[in-house]
Amino acid sequence: MSETTRSEFVLTRLIKAAGYSSILFIGLIFFFLLREGAPALVEIPLGSLVAARWYPIEGFFGLLPLIGGSIVVTIGATFVAVPLGLLTAIYIAEVAPRPARELLKPLVELLAGLPSVMLGFLGVVALAPYLRKLLDLPTGLAAFTGSLLLGGIAIPTVVSVAEDALDAVPRTYREAAKALGATKWQIIWRVTLPAARSGVLTAVMLGIGRVIGETMAVMMVTGNAPVVPTGLAALFRPIRTMTATIAAEMGEVAEGSVHYHALFLIGILLFLISLGINLLAASVVFRQRTRAERVLS
């Protein structure tokens, strides 16, 4: 008896510690980023940070081109990954016959396991030259190429999570709709998707998170030119993302230099952006749940 309670006590504490450890890790990471990055705010005047030129070896630390580059690529990739990913998820969960479904699900998950450096290599050798000729661009190493690749990288994440959410919608919902005479399309659009909305939204947010944090593929195909993107044309020009900047320059900086602190400041920005996306997702999911509760009660 006391043996059982003791082991139960230990197990409970262990699980609790594991649960809280992720909070601890996030806290430590943020503390470290803050300690290494905050000095940049003192060393570099704010006016120089909010400037259009990033050329650290001559002391230009304008972050606008990097932030803009990340935003352009992320928006582009979202337009690729979300529609394609959601449609794939709907097909797998709602439409596909059982054999197709059992083939597609593991294949999509296999796609998620592809190393991004491999996709980046394909992007440089095949996709970039092809897009340059197809769209008559000055160079195929552009934000658009990065968006397509990153979209491809994010699709498995979106499909996997969204499909699980759709699958979790009780069969009775669909049967009830069918009994009322709804067509297949009406069931998907009016019943299943709204019922799975929070899960689908999580899928989209996770996909965006995957895109904004991706480094290797984006560094290989976007050309890394720190240009401030202006307008739609920027999608077809080279850009430089925050992640690629950190990856390309971190190996070389002297520890404790202004450049080093500036790179960590970019890290803080990335951290805050991911945090913002997650908070946004959480708040929407939360609002959805309360409304559902209100309806049910």
Partner: protein, 287 residues
């Protein structure tokens, strides 16, 4: 590749030792060599050949860029840093702050080749034109006697010694007061291979690379210091006789005057056998 891996594996083991016991003076017969990507192939070839001369010494060679190698030397994790440029004053100061006085040795010379796509009719450029291209004043090949196509500027990343050399000697033409910068839309590619790949497939592109990295699939442009000429293509001869204008020294840097196995290795590198390897790899020997 297997031989490269064999050279790198001892490197990993050494990295472990160094982390425990800082300072390049490790008592065993190992040599850690890191830095410039321009020199890395040459350094690997030297390290392999040196196995015949002194089998008891194991040398680990890694790239990463001149800045990376010098930073490692300052932090005391390598015996020899490879650099395609001299130390910057701030690196010198950082080294002295760590109690290290770096010594530079010229171990080979290198020409920076200007490369374009084989379909690009432009085959000669002056340094002034190159400066105008890379600083963004010239934006169409038709301004240089080529086709009506946009110019796509390719460069190495800023941690590359080649990038810094190109900035100082070509964009600024060696003038320290000149503050010309690369045009912001210059593509910064992480490797020499990245530049070659893009130039090979893109008729709009112009890039620069160490002569040792030039492949037959790209076109090397003849370069002149001023418009009156002569326009010279980079080669071992044109670098030795001083005609090719964009040539530079390649360095190995040690922490303090070299002694023991570092000294032995460096003396061998200056010798005829190692310098023959230099010309075999498309670099220019020092003697």
């Amino acid at each position: 590749m297997p031989r490269l891996a064999a050279l790198l594996v001892p490197g990993l083991l050494i990295a472990g030792c160094v982390a425990r016991q800082p300072g390049p003076a490790s008592p065993d017969q190992t040599l850690v060599n890191k830095g410039s990507d321009t020199i890395v192939n040459l350094a690997i070839a030297w390290a392999e050949a040196y196995q015949q001369v002194a089998p008891e010494v194991s040398i680990s060679v890694t790239g990463g860029g001149s800045g990376t190698g010098i930073a490692a030397l300052i932090n005391g994790t390598v015996d020899i840093a490879n650099a395609s440029r001299q130390l910057k004053p701030e690196e010198q100061a950082a080294a002295e702050a760590n109690g290290i006085s770096p010594v530079e040795f010229v171990v080979a010379r290198d020409a920076i080749a200007i490369i374009v796509n084989p379909n690009n009719p432009v085959d000669r450029l002056t340094i002034g034109q190159l400066s105008d291209i890379y600083s963004g004043k010239l934006n169409n090949w038709s301004e240089l006697g080529g086709l009506d196509r946009p110019i796509v500027r390719l460069s190495r990343e800023t941690n590359s010694g080649t990038h810094v050399y190109f900035l100082e000697q070509v964009l600024r033409r060696g003038d320290r007061a000149n503050k010309t910068l690369f045009s912001p839309d210059t593509l910064l590619l992480p490797s020499s291979e990245g530049i070659t790949t893009e130039v090979r497939s893109n008729p709009n592109a112009i890039g620069y690379d160490g002569l040792g990295y030039v492949t037959p699939e790209v076109k090397v442009v003849a370069v002149a210091s001023d418009p009156s000429g002569p326009f010279v293509r980079p080669s071992i001869e044109s670098v030795i006789n001083g005609q090719y204008p964009i040539a530079r020294d390649l360095y190995m840097v040690t922490a303090g005057e070299p002694t023991g196995r570092v000294l032995a290795y460096l003396s061998w590198i200056m010798g005829p056998e190692a310098q023959r390897i230099v010309s075999e790899l498309g670099f220019v020997p020092i003697s």
